[in-house]
Amino acid sequence: MLSESSLKKIDREVAKYPAAQKQSAVMAALAIAQDEKGWLDKDTIACVADYLGMAPVAVYEVASFYNMYDLEPVGKYKLTVCTNLPCALSGGAHAAEYVKEKLGVDFNQTTADGRFTLKEGECLGACGDAPVMLVNNKRMCSFMTPMQIDKLIEECK
């Protein structure tokens, strides 16, 4: 169900661990699967489980624990705003409000054109750069003032 190239990538991750510990590659495998499918539906999770010889529910535990994994479809750009305390105290909450207003969506919602999904994130380990946002789980954006946010959203059109 996953493409050859995804499975190859997963194999590379699996190879990093002892043969009996395939499940150690579960987080990487889920990320690879999500890259291919856009989000993790239950068949994809079952497929990863099967590939790593794990119980599907064990993979689901991981996929539901971390909020970079999406258990529902997301827009083309997934914007995650950190609202943990250090960020919240240094403008994170305002940044989130600003994005909400600008896009007309709340947390966990997707814009009508399917372009943006807004998520509330946990500490990204860059509290000094607050407010902090993450685009599509991979791109970190620091010091997200309203102006920066405008620029980012413009870029993502």
């Binding site: 239950k42 999770i45 079952a46 119980a55 599907p56 529910v57 064990a58 689901y60 535990e61 539901s64 624990f65």
Partner: protein
């Protein structure tokens, strides 16, 4: 797990708990040390049979020199440690934890089935306060559908993960998990799945709150209303110990009675939920006699009179040998003994309890009674095992659990079978082939072992050339320190069962390991002890069906379901002049072929004895009064003995009968021996396409469990299909899911074809013991499959 090494001479440490000095083994945890001293430490997530999760924090105690309270379940003892379980610090911590646990708990004890037997309720009384300081909204968790056996109220869950760890560590497949996190954490099966393990009911016992409760028992009674009585499971050969809970003379629930040597603290779902069958509408509660084709209720005197006359008449006219008795291996020792004594008393040797067997050629050649070959508790200590012809996970779920434990400790278990079913552990090596080829495969292992060890193999094996898997299996068995070859139900029911036994014995001798039989039924050993099998000229179970008798006496069995060939059984019973059924249940088929129905008590309503697969004698009392006019089987047989004027039928109690059978064998029976000598080996049976692979699905295996509605709704009770592997399906040009006609001899049935990669090449797996497949006939044999 993994703490057992403590038993073997570990270093002892001096510690002190609440001022009491103690010596405990190094590596023990504080909670274990406290239990050793009889000191109770409150806990939820800790369970002696499960791994340590340390997530509930209820067990916090004070440890000298530690700056903060420590979880007793996860803190190993160290030399000179001083622990305080009731100090101010400990109590304050425990109370604090309790307050947090109750924040999100619904506190709905009045409508909760767990009320009265709830660890949370009990501990809240001790550590909770009378009112909550928390005024905010509580979280609500949606309920999950876990199937027909376990009911959920997930808002009550305290996320201790005992249930999750059970499925993972004991049941062998992680069917539950804790998804999401923090406040949103939920226990759930994988999206839209149910919990289908054959051991699933144990999570009900494990759940310390009312989140997981028994569905069949739901709202049935309060725990304090129930009286508790000990009993023994009448199903598989293990003889699990039960606590049967009764209200108003009705069994409402069955729980495990902990016995470390047998079932530990577990029960299989079959043992736990089959009690529902006791209250089935199909219970026979009055003696019934068929007159001119019509059934009429009779009183006991009339019915017994009828039976004694009928049997006398037939014995006089056609000879006593025209009477045969088919006895259930789930009947009590006392019933089996009296039934054979009765038959022999009136001059017939035709009596047998091995109803599903098809090879009796070891009769007269066995050195003793076939048994497990070891104690049940030794199974998890085995390090090398060969499992031959066994659906062990379904047939003896708790023995499978012990095998999994052995594998976890590093045992190498190999498999020789007609179906590569998932045992929930990875077999070391396996040889999967059509049923007819199993003896040859085992012979290969024997030969390989002999060659490798440099000893002479049986001359009959001269033409055998061991294949690669046979060699691998043989090599592993030769390394055994505690090895065993275990013959499963399927091997015992096999048409070359004697060959398998003889080969097993040879292999055991060569490799210095033990040979064991996994007990098919509660009294698979007891039947031999009671001599409920033919000697000399007597007919065995198969012969009694192949050479139809004029009269049959049935004890606790429905032969169309319980014998090796249900079709032949039906034909034999239908042609008989008289069929006397001593039974707890009636069925349409039985009303058709029987002439007299005598209601005898099922296990819960009679005293009796089961001799388990390890030879353990377990007697039990009735837990309720018999329903209606039902009588204990031994009493019915005693009166029949009197009426038929058979000598020595003056028993006053079942104990008297037991003492006569066992004659001083206490605890364990003697004469257990799996050797067989002089069996001529049959190794050259040609394979045919297709061969039938017939399992006996666990919830169809006996009359009681067949009538337990909740088990019948479980996944393991789905109607039989024709299961073929991909190669077989494509060679037939049949798509999975399509209807096929299966012919066996001149019989045929229509079934759905199903893809099952586990089935051996050239085989069709079609379950036995089910109404849909009875008409097919023998459990073994060749059949053809075509599009319907």
């Amino acid at each position: 797990m993994g703490r057992q090494y403590l038993l073997y001479g570990a270093v002892m440490l001096e510690i002190e708990i609440d001022g009491q000095a103690a010596q405990v083994a190094e590596g023990s945890t504080v909670i274990e040390a406290a239990h050793q001293l009889g000191i109770y430490i409150p806990h939820f997530c800790y369970h002696k049979k499960l791994s340590i999760a340390a997530n509930c924090r209820m067990c916090l105690v004070q440890v000298e020199k530690a700056p903060k309270p420590m979880p007793a379940c996860a803190t190993p003892v160290s030399p000179g440690m001083k622990i305080f379980t009731h100090s101010d610090m400990a109590i304050k911590a425990q109370k604090g934890v309790m307050e947090f646990l109750l924040i999100n708990h619904p506190l709905d004890c009045p409508i909760c089935d767990q009320g009265g037997e709830c660890q949370l309720q009990d501990l809240a009384v001790g550590y909770g306060s009378s009112a909550s300081r928390y005024q905010e909204e509580k979280r609500v968790v949606s309920n999950k559908d876990l199937g027909p056996l376990v009911s959920t109220d997930m808002t009550r869950c305290i996320n201790c993960t005992r249930c999750v760890r059970f499925t993972q560590e004991i049941a062998g497949v992680m069917e539950l998990g804790q998804a999401f996190r923090g406040e949103f954490a939920e226990i759930m099966p994988f999206v839209e799945k149910t919990v289908d393990s054959e051991l699933s009911g144990n999570i009900i016992d494990l759940c310390p709150v009312g989140a997981l409760t028994s569905k069949p028992f739901r709202f049935g009674a309060r725990t304090w209303e129930l009286s508790r009585r000990k009993s023994v499971s009448p199903h598989d050969g293990l003889g699990s110990n039960l606590i049967v809970q009764v209200l108003h003379n009705k069994v409402l629930r069955v729980l495990p009675l902990e016995n470390e040597e047998i079932n530990e603290c577990w029960l299989s779902d079959k043992d736990r939920f089959s009690y529902e069958g006791l209250n089935s509408e199909q219970r026979l509660t009055k003696p019934m006699v068929k007159q001119d084709g019509k059934w009429i209720e009779a009183d006991w005197a009339a019915a017994l009179d009828y039976v004694s006359h009928a049997l006398r008449d037939i014995a006089a006219k056609d000879g006593a040998e025209s009477i045969g008795a088919l006895l259930s291996p789930h009947a009590t020792l006392e019933e089996l003994y009296l039934a054979q004594k009765l038959l022999r008393g009136i001059g017939s040797e035709n009596v047998d309890f091995r109803l599903r067997h098809s090879d009796f050629s070891a009769d007269g050649k066995r050195a003793g009674t076939p048994w497990l070959g070891m104690k049940v508790a030794e199974v998890d200590k085995l390090d090398r095992v060969l499992l031959v012809g066994s659906f062990v996970r379904k047939d003896q779920p708790l023995l499978a659990q012990r095998l999994r434990k052995a594998v976890k400790r590093g045992a190498r278990v190999s498999v020789l079978h007609a179906s590569d079913d998932d045992l929930l552990f990875k077999p070391f090596a396996k040889a999967i082939a059509a049923p007819s080829q199993l003896p040859r495969l085992l012979a290969e292992v024997v030969k390989a072992a002999a060659e490798s060890k440099g000893v002479a193999a049986d001359a009959a094996l001269s033409a055998i050339v061991p294949g690669e898997s046979a060699r691998k299996i043989a090599e592993s068995l030769l390394e055994a320190r505690q090895g065993a070859i275990l013959l499963g139900n399927y091997a015992q029911q096999h048409p070359q069962a004697a060959t398998l036994q003889a080969l097993g014995h040879q292999l055991a001798e060569i490799a210095g390991i033990r040979l064991g039989f996994l007990g098919e039924a509660a009294n698979s050993v007891g039947g031999y002890v009671a001599e409920a099998l033919p000697k000399g000229q007597g007919l065995n179970a198969a012969q009694m069906l192949a050479q139809p008798r004029k009269a049959y006496v049935l004890l606790g069995t429905e032969p169309e379901m319980d014998t090796a060939d249900g079709r032949a059984a039906l034909a034999a019973l239908e042609q008989a002049k008289t069929v006397v059924a001593l039974t707890a249940f009636k069925s349409a088929a039985m009303l058709d072929y029987a002439d007299v129905l005598l209601p005898i008590a099922p296990f819960a309503e009679t005293s009796g004895t089961f001799v388990s697969t390890e030879g353990r004698v377990q007697s039990f009392y009735a837990v309720t009064k018999p329903q209606g006019d039902t009588r204990p089987g031994w009493k019915v047989l005693r009166v029949l003995g009197n009426l038929l004027e058979v000598a020595g039928f003056d028993y006053e109690s079942s104990e008297q009968i037991r003492d006569e059978v066992l004659a001083g064998q206490d605890g364990f029976v003697s004469g257990l021996d799996n050797a067989a000598s002089g069996v001529s080996l049959t190794l050259d049976v040609a394979a045919s396409t297709f061969e039938r692979v017939a399992d006996v699905p666990l919830y169809f295996a006996d009359a009681l469990v067949r009538r337990a509605p909740s088990l019948q709704a479980a996944r393991d009770a789905v109607a039989p299909t024709a299961r073929l592997n991909a190669a077989s399906l494509s060679s037939l040009g049949i798509a999975a899911g399509s209807l096929v006609r299966v012919r066996q001899g001149d019989a045929s049935v229509q079934l759905l074809a199903e893809l099952d990669g586990a089935v051996a090449d050239g085989c069709v797996r079609i379950a036995a013991a089910h109404v849909d497949t009875v008409s097919l006939g023998a459990m073994f044999g060749s059949l053809s499959v075509e599009r319907a």
